[in-house]
């Protein structure tokens, strides 16, 4: 693998060929917010919150850092008025679904996003796909997936597979940025089993 030199926020960064801008930035100690990214998973490019500006030959464009490959001589900016506006709008759109998500609220404070800007539609899930992709790519079980498309899209556990696999795994739970997943899982499990799905620390059975 050959080394690629580029600049991120004015800092010279040496990256491996094939790396994404997000990986290169994080390696260099520069933090870029991301919701659908996970280092163990294939880059997905869905939440768009990791949008940065990349300049080459005097031409600057908005690119999504979790999927954009490093290029020699690229000059990357991770914060600007334009970038902040994009991130703020994305957060406002997502907060209409998950107004209490700690992760989203934290970022909202950073980018000045108003969680009440759009009419609430509390579905909790922000469709980052972390659970779906983790289950498929890491576990190879495909017990949770997307159903439907567009604004009707939802995550859903496949009852037969979930009943057999999810009990002992639950590794996707902590990945969820809005805690929607547990609810969906319990819902599915409750339909299939007389026994409680799991117990909370305080001993409540669900």
């Amino acid at each position: 693998m050959s080394k690629i030199l580029l600049k991120i926020d004015g800092k010279e960064i040496e990256a491996e060929e094939g790396m994404t801008l997000l990986e290169a930035a994080r390696d260099g100690g520069i933090e870029i917010p991301a919701l659908c990214h996970h280092e163990k998973l294939e880059p997905y490019g869905a939440c768009r919150i990791c949008t940065v500006e990349a300049e080459k030959n005097g031409r600057s464009k908005l690119v999504v850092s979790c999927v954009y490959p490093v290029e020699k001589g690229l000059n990357v900016t991770t914060r600007s008025e334009k970038i902040d506006r994009v991130r703020k709008t994305i957060l406002e759109l997502l907060l209409s679904h998950a107004p209490d998500s700690e992760k989203l609220l934290e970022l909202a404070a950073e980018y000045g996003a108003n969680k009440d800007r759009f009419e609430k539609e509390p579905s909790f899930c922000v469709h980052c796909g972390l659970c779906v992709r983790y289950c498929a790519e890491i576990k190879g079980k495909f017990a949770v997936g997307f159903i439907n498309r567009g604004s009707r899209r939802e995550i859903n556990f496949l009852p037969e597979l979930a009943a057999a696999e999810c009990w002992k795994c639950k590794e996707c739970f902590p990945l969820c940025p809005t805690s929607a997943l547990q609810a969906a899982f319990v819902f599915t499990e409750a339909q299939f089993s007389e026994t409680p799905a799991f117990e909370t620390d305080s001993g409540n059975k669900y």
Binding site: Y68, T89, L93, H127, G150
Partner: protein, 642 residues
């Protein structure tokens, strides 16, 4: 069918086919495209065959089910050769008379000819009809000359000669150079130069490469790719094979939407026939070039017309786009270099190689060469497919080819580029239609949808309609498209329902910009266009909806009321009887009044009020006048007496 093993044998077969054809033998060509079939073309074909049998003329007259010639407004279309007499809106019961008069007596049936509404003169041949003779029909004109299911017909008009020429007389580099000279740009919407795309794939190191025909035509009201693929499938195959030879691919796919059953059927027949003749498969024409092609049916998602989503779907996954920072001609289907072009782009390729780049470049503008097929629909007299040279003015397309707006209504806007294109007003009618000019005007070429709108169209509602379509068709993967477009739709819907408020337009503009800037694929990136272009050219309509709660086009139901003018009402009972919600009060000799609480705004009263009275009207942005007192509603002896 004999296998053809060399270009010489191809010419021999072609000559044999031609020698069996008698140019003077009458042939009745009936459009068997989807549009005409829907108008009863199958019954017309059956009626002709029956009549020919009945009269024992089987040996003297041929019949042929052809591809779509484009004049869908007047289907089923029948063209009689050798005279090329063109009959429109032919019914099965016309068949005996056509056989008796036109075939046997060589007499033209005046009543079935095109009648020019401006001159009142009839046109006998296709080429005499303004709809046709203002076009430049390089590609689509062949549709009516051939039986869509016959490879022999395609060979008879010179089919596969470009392929033979390429395989035996040209290197891939020479093909690239020739196509490159024409700057043939992608007809699917992007307008990317085909030769550049091909060159990228050709130079990619991976030896395994693919070519794809994108026939997932999803724009509402667009059907030019359907007409080509079902009407002249061999032309598309030939173009595809030339592309494959050029980039070094041995496998190709035709991704066609399931909603096009006839196209699927005809292209599958074409593939089978081509294989039988040795024009597909191993060692094509003895050249050593191997190529196979497979038809894949889409499952009805609009987004699968987007190249990366199409490839993902072909791989058997959910049809969602993927980031294209590395272009698909380098890493496409199964991560292999893949050239994907639209049906119409492939259709141009054999023409270019047969006639040369200079010939092709004699059509079009500086940066957009050749012709473009549009489906001209909406409020237009001549609905159908039109092929025009690039650079023709919108005005000429709408008025010369399209025959203008029905009922002498006023033109308001033309929407080009499909659902994510833009609406252009009458001040833009002199715009020359080409890739860059349309984009500069805030619209786009798209794949060739052209929807004409008249004065009764509400532009806010048009934007709402297209955003509704795009919200429905968004795959849901990326946030700006899934959530942003949906929020835009909510705001627009509120505006059309009279719930618009100050700040809505600014919020829409802000959302539009984010959606445009950072959506994953072209569907999202262009989704705000219907709003942005209507705002650019029709801002006053938005303001009227928001500020005055008024719909200037009198279209948005929540913003209009129906009113019967007591001075004009003759108490004829027509509206009273037809009103489905019993909202009209009145009676014989009693002036009618609309009960606004009961009225569902179905427009029936306006439709049925006799034109000589014109008593019903629509009101928007102002209160409905109070009903006149009951004692003043009586009419005596047809004259109103108060």
């Amino acid at each position: 069918m004999p296998r053809i093993n060399s270009p010489d044998e191809l010419e021999k077969v072609r000559n044999e086919i031609l020698s069996q054809k008698d140019a003077n033998k009458p042939c009745i060509s009936i459009c068997a495209g989807t549009g005409c079939l829907a108008c009863g073309a199958a019954e017309v074909i059956a009626a002709f065959k029956e009549e020919i049998n009945k009269q024992g003329l089987e040996a003297d007259v041929d019949t042929k089910g052809t591809g779509c010639p484009g004049f869908c407004e007047r289907g089923p279309i029948v063209v009689i050769y050798p005279e090329e007499i063109c009959y429109l809106q032919v019914k099965p019961e016309d068949a005996p008379e056509i056989i008796a008069q036109t075939i046997k007596e060589k007499k033209v049936l005046e009543r079935l000819l095109y009648l020019d509404p401006s001159t009142n003169e009839s046109a006998t041949r296709e080429s005499d009809i303004p709809f046709y003779n203002n076009q430049e029909r390089l590609i689509i004109s062949n549709n009516i000359k051939i039986d869509s299911k016959s490879i022999e017909d395609y060979l008879a008009i010179g089919g596969y000669s470009a392929l033979a020429k390429v395989l035996f007389q040209m290197t891939p580099e020479q093909v690239l150079e020739e196509v490159g000279k024409t700057n043939l740009r992608g007809r699917g919407g992007g307008g990317f130069p085909a030769a550049l795309k091909w060159e990228g794939s050709r130079n990619a190191p991976d030896p395994e490469k693919y070519v794809i025909v994108n026939a997932d035509e999803g724009d509402p009201g667009a059907f030019m790719d359907r007409a080509l693929l079902e009407g002249n499938p061999h032309l598309i195959l030939e173009g595809l094979m030339i592309g494959a030879y050029t980039i070094g691919a041995r496998e190709g796919y035709i991704y066609v939407r399931q909603e096009y059953p006839l196209a699927v059927e005809n292209v599958n027949i074409a593939i089978r026939h081509a294989e039988e003749y040795g024009l597909l498969g191993n060692n094509i024409l003895g050249s050593g070039f191997d190529f196979t092609v497979e038809v894949h049916q889409g499952a009805g998602a609009f987004v699968c017309g987007e190249s990366s989503a199409l490839m993902t779907a072909l791989e058997g996954k959910t049809g969602e786009p993927r980031p294209k920072y590395i272009r698909s001609n380098i890493r496409g289907l199964w991560e292999k270099p893949t050239v994907l072009n639209n049906v119409e782009t492939w259709a141009n390729v054999p023409l270019i190689l047969n006639n040369g780049a200079d010939w092709f470049n004699s059509y079009g503008t500086d940066r957009s060469k050749g012709t473009k097929i549009f489906s001209l629909v909406g409020k237009i007299n001549n609905t159908g497919l039109v092929e025009i040279p690039m650079g023709m003015a919108l005005r000429d397309i709408i008025y010369k080819v399209g025959g203008g707006i029905p009922e002498n209504k006023k033109f308001k806007a033309v929407q080009t580029g499909g659902p994510s294109g833009g609406c252009l007003p009458d001040s833009m009618l002199d715009l020359e239609v080409s890739f860059d000019e349309l984009t500069a005007a805030g619209s786009m070429m798209g794949s060739g949808g052209m929807i004409v709108m008249d004065e009764d169209t509400c532009m806010v509602d048009v934007a709402r309609y297209f955003l509704d379509f795009l919200t429905d068709e968004s795959c849901g993967k990326c946030v700006p498209c899934r959530e942003g477009v949906k929020q835009m739709l909510k705001i627009l819907t509120n505006i059309t329902k009279g719930r618009g408020k100050e700040g809505d337009l600014e919020l829409l503009e802000e959302l539009g910009e984010v959606v445009k800037d950072i959506s994953l694929c072209a569907l999202g990136q262009t989704a705000p266009n219907p709003f942005l272009s209507t705002l650019k050219y029709f801002r006053e309509e938005y303001e009227a909806h928001i500020e005055d709660k008024r719909c200037p086009a009198l279209y948005c139901k929540e913003l209009i009321s129906y009113y019967i003018d007591p001075e004009k009402c003759q108490a004829c009972m027509a509206c009273l009887k037809k009103c489905p919600s019993d909202a009209i009060i009145g009676g014989k000799k009693t002036i009618h009044i609309i009960d606004q609480d009961k009225c569902t705004k179905c427009n029936t009263c306006l439709d049925v009020c006799p034109p000589r009275f014109k008593a019903v009207s629509k009101i928007s942005g102002e209160p409905v006048p109070p009903p006149i007192p009951e004692e003043e509603r009586t009419i005596t002896r047809g004259n109103k007496e108060k």
